[in-house]
């Protein structure tokens, strides 16, 4: 999006140059052809991006919307026939007994994950701002969760969190903190907390990296000047770091929310939405409907509900960033 606006701006600029630099009469036509060629090239460079966006983002989104108004079954794939059903799919998924559970879990999962990732990520980012030995090595080690495929992370955490032989319960047991294993993934009251915990662990590197980058941008002089006025420690954070970091924070939070809303692999890998649907989110339910029960129309409808929720956050983000620019 920003690419096109930048380009249109740059294509008008040669025009203004031309009126100003109208001295060399012989040079003008040659320059004009060069400009024209340049503009063609500029457009050509855009083509791959436009084609890519239309094919891999535009088409699936439109298709998903269309699908949600159809009775789309396995037979549709072979026959191509998908009768229109209006809002029936939406009515079915929104009125299903599972929807309120999934919606609540989605909210809890997203809010919990974002809060944990952000707070820990920010704390670590500030911590790593100091200069100390092994700083670089430790920081790169913290990136590890990010590098692992999600399916591997969830499989390993499933072992760690196992009630009887999991490493976590062994550890707590050895410390004498517990006597019987805690059913992290098989208790309806703990499973969501455990899943959120794992997702926080996975999200920390992202928050740490972006926030650390943002902190590097804040000039040291501000802190030096602040310390002269007595702003150190917490005060320096409140009055210098936080306000200077705000644009980065809003990016991290909004991207985090949109990523987290659609988390699928981690939940499927850890609990499959169980026990008794206690970790079922809109994303996992939509996946189940489409790929396990073969109700593609209903799956698409539920997917679109998730898209709408994400859009709300996207709009909030755009508004926030526009205000920041206006200021």
């Amino acid at each position: 999006m920003s690419l096109t606006t930048d380009l249109s701006r740059s294509t008008t600029r040669p025009g203004t140059n031309k009126s100003r630099a109208g001295t060399g009469a012989t040079q003008a036509p040659r320059r004009r052809t060069r400009q024209r060629r340049e503009r063609i090239f500029q457009w050509l460079f855009l083509v791959p991006a436009v084609v890519y966006m239309a094919l891999f983002f535009g088409y699936p989104v439109v298709k998903n919307v269309v699908m949600s108004f159809q009775d789309y079954t396995t037979a549709t794939f072979f026959t191509g026939e998908a009768p229109w059903v209006g809002f029936a799919n939406y009515v079915t998924v929104l009125s299903s007994s599972l929807f309120s559970t999934s919606l609540l879990n989605t909210v809890l999962f997203t809010a919990g994950s974002i809060l944990g990732q952000f707070v820990i990520g920010l704390a670590l980012a500030i911590f790593f701002q100091r200069k100390f030995p092994l700083n670089g090595i430790l920081r790169s080690l913290l990136l590890l969760p990010w590098l692992l495929p999600l399916i591997v992370s969830s499989a390993v955490w499933r072992w760690i969190l196992d009630k009887d032989s999991g490493a976590l319960n062994r550890f707590l047991g050895d410390l004498g903190l517990i006597h019987t294993g805690i059913p992290w993934l098989t208790s309806t009251s703990l499973a969501l907390i455990a899943v959120v915990g794992v997702n926080i662990w996975i999200g920390i590197p992202f928050n740490l990296t972006i926030l650390y980058g943002g902190l590097q941008e804040i000039p040291d002089e501000l802190y030096e000047a602040g310390s002269l006025d007595g702003a150190t420690g917490w005060k320096a954070f409140r009055h210098i770091t936080w306000p200077m970091l705000r644009p980065v924070v809003s990016v991290v939070l909004v991207l985090g929310v949109v990523y987290t809303l659609k988390v699928l692999d981690i939940i499927l890998g850890l609990t499959n939405g169980g026990p008794a649907n206690s970790t079922q989110t809109i994303a996992t339910q939509s996946y189940d409907l489409s790929f396990h029960e073969f109700k593609f129309g209903e799956g698409a409808a539920l997917g679109n509900v998730l898209v709408i929720i994400s859009l709300v956050f996207a709009v909030l983000y755009l508004r926030a960033s526009r205000r920041a620019v206006d200021e």
Binding site: I40, V51, D164, F291
Partner: protein, 412 residues
Amino acid sequence: MKSALRTTRPLALAVAALVGLPLFVSGCGSSPAASSSEAVTEISVMDYYNNEPDKSFIGDALTKCGTKAGVTIKRETVPGKSLISKVLQQSSSKTLPDVLMLDNPDLQQIAATGALAPLADFKISTDGFAPGVLSAGTYKDKVYGLAPTVNTIALFYNKDILAKAGVTPPTTWDELKAAAAKLTAGDQYGLAFNANPTYEGTWQFLPVMWSNGGDEKKIDTKETEQALQLWTDLVKDGSVSSSALNWTQADVKDQFMAGKAAMMVNGPWQIPSLDKQPTLQYGVVKIPVQEAGQTSVAPLGGEVWTVPQTGNKARQAKAAEVVACLNSDENQLAMAKVRNTIPSKTTLAGTFASENPKLATFTELIKTARARTGQLGEGWPAQATKIYTAIQTALTGKASPADALKQAQASK
């Protein structure tokens, strides 16, 4: 005028690229459209045996059958989880393989699309197959798929642990509960099964449900409630770890192999791993029934081979020859032996059981094993979801078995 041209040309290019690209893509995907009169020298096959040793066993059988039919086999193996989505993609782009393997409960979905050819069109005989096997391959009175070998689940027990505790393998629910309780001590649970929120959890529950007369079409009945009560009691009294709510069948096997479960519900495909641990002495019995005298009804597992409607009669005929060959007596026995599965023709069961005593219990069970889709057809996935939801609700104590089943049956 000039400026307009200047701006439209790149646009036109973009449009041309957009229009051309899908053409190019679809051009790549289309299958070699040989006309029916041409001699068929090669047929394509797709299955999900992508791990050794099954990959080679099935590959060898396919090659042999191909040679017999005078064609070479172009085989593609895909991971189990992605087979169905691949099949759906291929059926929409009309690029299905000539021979397609499907997990038996999925056959209904694919047959319902019209993508498969009835095997009667090719005069493939269905004589001698176990009734459950045929019903798994049948959609709306026509047989679309045949399984050369099948499997099911039974009760594995650790001989040493049971002998030490003076426990004999249970045959009724009461004996099962008593044995499991007695075998539970310290780190060791009496029994392990899988009650996770996937179709696996449903599959492992089916033997107790069916043996007691439960019906998958209507699950809020006394019979199914009693079965779910049994599962719930076993978890509640600690004979089965509550981790069962999250275990897969592979996890259950790991617990059994590590000596952390004295008995387990599992299938014969675990035998190769179990045999890798020579110190482990195990036996296999039928899953207990509520009262002595009831028949232990097991669910039928295994994969069926089908001939998709590719539109090329000559290739389909060759494909059918390969499917028929895979299901021949000779191949059934050979594949069953190496793959630790059971021949699907009951006529072969007797000799097979005597030659493979480890598989004797499973062979016995196959005769009366039931297909999951036998009654519900395409409706199976939705109902299977209700069953595992009810199991999870009852096992976590969120509702009594009766209420859990009632809620699940009423849910949409």
